[in-house]
């Protein structure tokens, strides 16, 4: 680990100002990911701005929905009664991620900024365009079992590791961020980005911008939800494939459907075409299979992740079955 400066502001504005634009500065909250990366030498910040003293921990009802402060802990959100009542899929997704110990430390804002678990990214002796632009992608012709099947590029086939973000993508959340120029709001779907030629950028935050919180709009569906995560062990493993499903079913007919996948792309992968195919249809396994087929259009696998082309649709079908309560 390199030597670094450490500051701990108590106000948002000073936190943003403390972020010296030219230096290699990072915000730190729970540190559950950043500390690991620093220990591995993957990131070497010159300065850490500890934001834990900022008043960003609230989880509260607003006029249009629910606001979650960026520093709310993953475990607090997962156990919060408002969340359990209005957006249980978010609690399910959070509890599917990491371990209770990590969830007790990790924040919502930090979870959104989690770096990929690609082994090449983590090993400074391997090529990785995300860690070191221009060094090449080790995974594309390497051990790529965990990697993307959607939206990858020649530069990077890594996946975003978060479970929480898959649910937030399905819930049409909005992210509020603060920069030197003031606040701005980013639709969740636009927060994370595809790798393209710049996999070093995981998201669309401008340098120095601080996440203040997220807002989840009210939605009718709370009962027919599922978060299904298929992984190599029952807990504390990243998704091979995961699916968040939020259905609004009335009289056996699907009125609205929101679906997102994890473990398949550089960002939480929203399945809008599959959703559209379900609207107005009956909640049947056949219709779920059709939606899953639509969802997989454009998927491209690599040497070791061919199985995702089958596990993906299977997981979508199973998640929809669970959400709809269909055997």
């Amino acid at each position: 680990m390199n030597q670094f400066q450490y500051v701990r502001p108590v106000e948002q504005a000073s936190a943003v100002k403390a972020f010296v634009k030219d230096a290699n500065t990072q915000f730190i909250a729970g540190g559950t990911n950043l500390i690991d990366l620093m220990k591995m030498g993957v990131v070497k910040p010159d300065k850490l701005v500890d934001i834990n003293r900022l008043p960003l921990k609230d989880i509260k009802k607003t006029v249009t929905g629910i606001h979650i402060g960026a520093l709310a802990l993953n475990s607090q959100v997962a156990e919060n009664s408002l969340i359990l009542q209005h957006h249980p899929v978010l609690a399910l997704a959070l509890n599917a991620g990491a371990t209770q110990q990590l969830r007790n430390m990790a924040t919502v804002g930090g979870n959104m900024l989690q770096r990929t678990r690609c082994g090449y990214f983590f090993d400074t002796n391997m090529p990785c365009n995300k860690r070191e632009p221009g060094s090449g992608c080790g995974a594309i012709d390497g051990v790529n079992r965990m990697h993307a099947i959607f939206g990858a590029s020649e530069s990077c086939i890594a996946v975003h590791p978060s479970d929480m973000c898959v649910a937030l993508a399905a819930l049409d959340a909005t992210v509020t961020v603060l920069g030197l120029k003031g606040e701005r709001r980013i639709p969740f779907a636009d927060f994370h980005r595809l790798p393209g030629d710049h996999p070093e950028h995981d998201n669309t935050l401008q340098k120095g911008e601080l996440i203040l919180g997220i807002d989840i709009p009210d939605a009718p569906a709370t009962k027919n939800v599922a978060y299904l995560k298929v992984r190599d062990r029952t807990s504390y493993a990243f998704a091979l494939v995961s699916v968040a499903a939020v259905l609004n079913i009335e009289g056996g007919i699907i009125k609205s459907a929101r679906l997102a996948m994890g473990g398949v792309a550089h960002k939480p992968w929203r399945l809008q075409n599959a959703e559209a195919s379900l609207i107005g249809k009956q909640a049947t396994v056949d219709n779920f299979k059709q939606a899953a087929q639509i969802a997989m259009q454009g998927a491209k696998a690599y040497k070791y992740n061919q199985f995702k082309l089958k596990l993906g649709p299977n997981t979508i079908v199973q998640a929809l079955k669970t959400a709809a309560g269909v055997a």
């Binding site: 030498g41 090993d123 390497g142 051990v143 298929v230 190599d232 299977n314």
Partner: protein, 713 residues
């Protein structure tokens, strides 16, 4: 043969004598000795798989704050008493830490940095810059099978006709792959060393302090009285602490150089490359049988990875030679030297690997024969050891089959795969057997009775988790007739009387015999002093004898070892593992919903700790079958998942309730307690029980472990 036990405390489910210390954090593990003036060492790992160090720039590291020294191959030889080379006299690779410029595997330590704090040492280590001349490396087992060699140990075996299975009416011919697994004990490997004049004192994670002492004596040309090794508590090892590793030698060296205590703790990532692993092994099994299930021939071939600088062999083929009564058996064993660190024995070494293959193949045969897998095993039950033509000292495997199958609910199993469903989950049942040699080595114990009537026993054995001291207290209590709360047992100190390493399931048999014998010797001595017989003196009045004789205490040291039993009997522990699995029909997830381990390990000294040990082995078996695998990128010769997040040991949620059934009948031959050993058979055979259950559930035979969801959809 003495067999008067089985009366009092033997078998009692006694709490660990050090349990309170462990759960309250009061047990001091090797890395927790914060000796005054302690300094901290960090190893710098090499980053290529094969080649030569052309330059190593330590200037920046040496200038970094708090740094005391940086040792590399360039200055290591200047240290008193340490001479080494990376090329042996015969020109072959010779891996000695900082012994030369040759690199044999990725992660090989190239420097040790010592500083006044751990953080400063860590930072300084990151400043060491090494340049290399890379050579072509070989890390893939599959790609290098043509380079397989017959090792100097692990001979091929032949009984009857060569490859007789080929002409049998019913046959199975399949290949099974077990990937590299890493021990991954919770406690990281660590060493603290300091020199007191010409004597070195070492605290280290060790499965045998005497062996560690000997290694340090040999390396630094020291006599026994100049090396003190302590390893009182060990947070798991699974075989990874059965040898003295380069990092231990490096720490002793660094302590000499800086003239103050040095502590080194490997990182979790370094645990993947520096302290061994279970070697990836490809096994080809041929089974031939008559139509009614009588085995005609077994062929078992193993191809196992080893290092370029050292041969590692293990008994992967052993099980196939004697567990079943086949007239014809062929086993062949080859190793493939690769640019990887040397493997090390990992729980159930070899036998666990071999049992996975043979027990899977036997299951495949049972379906071809349309025969219940237990019936097939009974049909080929070996009443005597067909390899050595000797009777077993004891064998209650039939009882294991019977009790275990009843407990798991074997009668609910369908012989047709995929026939049973519970909701979306396919249900399957599987069996796998374990067998491992029951050994007794030489051990010596010192016993002391004090005026207050307390008993203290010392022996340089280890406790890597099974609860050795607790078992020894029970054995002594039983032999002496003195309550357990008056007896203490100390271990993990090289100044104590000799014992072998804690490995090969032999500690209770070896050290327990020494404790038993020295306890009886003490009793005998007390009787001699009192001039009375055992019938006239109650254990409670031993202190009176000391008083009468004006003795503040009485102390006896005595060695103990077996006789020629091994030439008359074949001695093994046996286990029959059963499990019930759920396999999700759509997502391929596997859940072990029930596990039963039925065990013939002779007398059980402590049912509580023995059950825990069995459960631990079962968890290891779940890892082997379902989750554990080191992934290698052969282009770079580096691990992809060498960390605790991406290398998956089973978590609690993967482990069901485990029912442990002990037959608990004494072995009449091996040792005075009638024990055999359970450390290895707890894991041996469990992985195939899962693989076989998965087949029973799905009709899919996965022959490459681990069985992850992608292999079942």
């Amino acid at each position: 043969m003495e067999k008067q036990l089985k009366k009092s405390v033997i078998g009692e489910p006694m709490d660990r004598v050090d349990g309170r210390l462990k759960v309250t954090g009061a047990a001091t593990y090797s890395a927790e000795y914060n000796i005054p003036n302690l300094s901290y060492a960090v190893l710098v790992s090499g980053t290529i798989a094969s080649g030569t160090i052309t330059g190593i720039d330590t200037a920046a590291a040496e200038r970094a704050p708090g740094v005391l020294t940086v040792i590399t191959h360039l200055n290591a030889s200047q240290l008193v008493g340490y001479q080494a080379s990376t090329i042996a006299a015969n020109g072959k690779p010779n891996y000695r830490v900082f012994g030369g410029d040759k690199i044999f595997f990725n992660g090989q330590p190239v420097a040790i940095v010592v500083a006044d704090t751990f953080e400063r040492a860590t930072y300084a280590a990151s400043l060491v810059k090494t340049s290399y001349q890379k050579d072509e490396h070989k890390t893939s087992l599959e790609d290098n099978l043509v380079n397989a060699i017959s090792p100097s140990r692990g001979k091929d075996y032949q009984r009857g006709i060569v490859d007789a299975y080929k002409t049998a009416p019913v046959k199975v011919e399949e290949t099974y792959m077990l990937p590299t697994e890493v021990h991954n004990p919770m406690e990281l490997h660590n060493t603290t060393a300091f020199w007191d004049g010409d004597k070195v004192i070492v605290y280290t994670k060790s499965q045998g302090v005497k062996a560690t002492q000997q290694s340090i004596m040999n390396t630094f040309k020291l006599t026994e009285d100049k090396v003190q090794v302590n390893s009182r508590f060990v947070g798991g090892a699974f075989g990874s602490a059965l040898r003295t590793w380069p990092h231990e030698i490096a720490t002793v060296m660094a302590a000499k150089k800086v003239g103050r205590p040095v502590k080194l703790l490997l990182t979790r990532e370094q645990q993947f490359t520096m302290v061994g692993y279970r070697p990836k092994t490809i096994q080809k099994i041929g089974l031939g049988a008559t139509a009614d299930g009588q085995l005609v021939g077994i062929t078992h071939e193993s191809y196992s990875q080893s290092s370029v600088y050292e041969e590692f062999t293990e008994g992967s083929n052993n099980v196939s030679r004697f567990l079943y009564a086949s007239p014809n058996v062929t086993t062949r064993y080859k190793i493939i030297p690769l640019n990887v660190g040397a493997p090390a024995p990992m729980r159930g070494p070899g036998e666990a690997t071999g049992a996975y293959a043979i027990e899977s193949a036997l299951d495949e045969l049972s379906y071809k024969l349309n025969m219940d897998p237990i019936a097939l095993r009974l049909k080929n039950y070996s009443e005597n050891d067909p390899e050595r033509n000797l009777p077993y000292s004891s064998k209650y495997l039939k009882e294991c089959y019977s009790l275990g199958s009843e407990k798991i609910g074997w009668s609910n199993r369908s012989q047709t795969p995929g026939a049973v469903k519970e909701g979306d989950w396919l249900v399957g049942y599987g069996i796998g057997c374990g067998v491992f040699g029951a050994h007794r080595g030489r051990a010596t114990a010192k016993i002391k009775i004090s005026a207050d009537g307390t008993i203290n026993i010392q022996c340089a054995t280890a406790d890597i988790g099974p609860g050795t001291a607790t078992s020894m207290v029970l054995i002594a209590s039983d032999a002496l007739g003195i309550p357990t709360n008056k007896i203490t047992f100390e271990l993990g100190n090289s100044a104590f009387p000799q014992a072998g390493q804690q490995g090969g399931s032999s500690t209770v048999s070896s050290v327990g015999s020494a404790v038993h014998d020295v306890s009886l010797a003490l009793k005998k001595k007390l009787m001699e002093l009192s001039g009375k017989t055992e019938n006239d003196v109650s254990p409670g009045s031993y202190t009176d004898i000391l008083k009468q004789q004006n003795l503040p205490y009485l102390e006896i040291t005595q060695g103990s070892q077996g006789g020629d039993e091994g030439s008359k009997y074949s001695m093994y522990s046996f286990s029959a593992h059963f499990c019930k699995v759920h396999v999700h029909a759509i997502t391929g997830q596997v859940k072990v919903v029930k596990a039963v381990a039925a065990v013939d390990a002779g007398t059980i000294i402590n049912h509580k700790t023995a059950s825990s040990q069995m459960i631990g082995g079962v968890v290891g078996g779940i890892g082997m079958a379902l989750t554990e695998e080191v992934l290698f990128d052969d282009r770079y010769g580096r691990y992809i998942n060498g960390n605790f997040a991406d290398y998956h040991v089973p978590v609690h949620a993967d482990v069901p309730d485990v029912d442990v059934i002990f037959i608990d009948k004494p072995d009449p031959v091996l040792n005075p307690m009638g024990t055999k050993g359970i450390g290895e058979i707890s894991i041996i055979g469990f992985a195939p029980a899962i693989a076989n259950a998965v087949y029973n559930a799905t009709g899919k035979r996965v022959r490459e472990m681990p069985i992850t969801p992608d292999k079942l959809i």
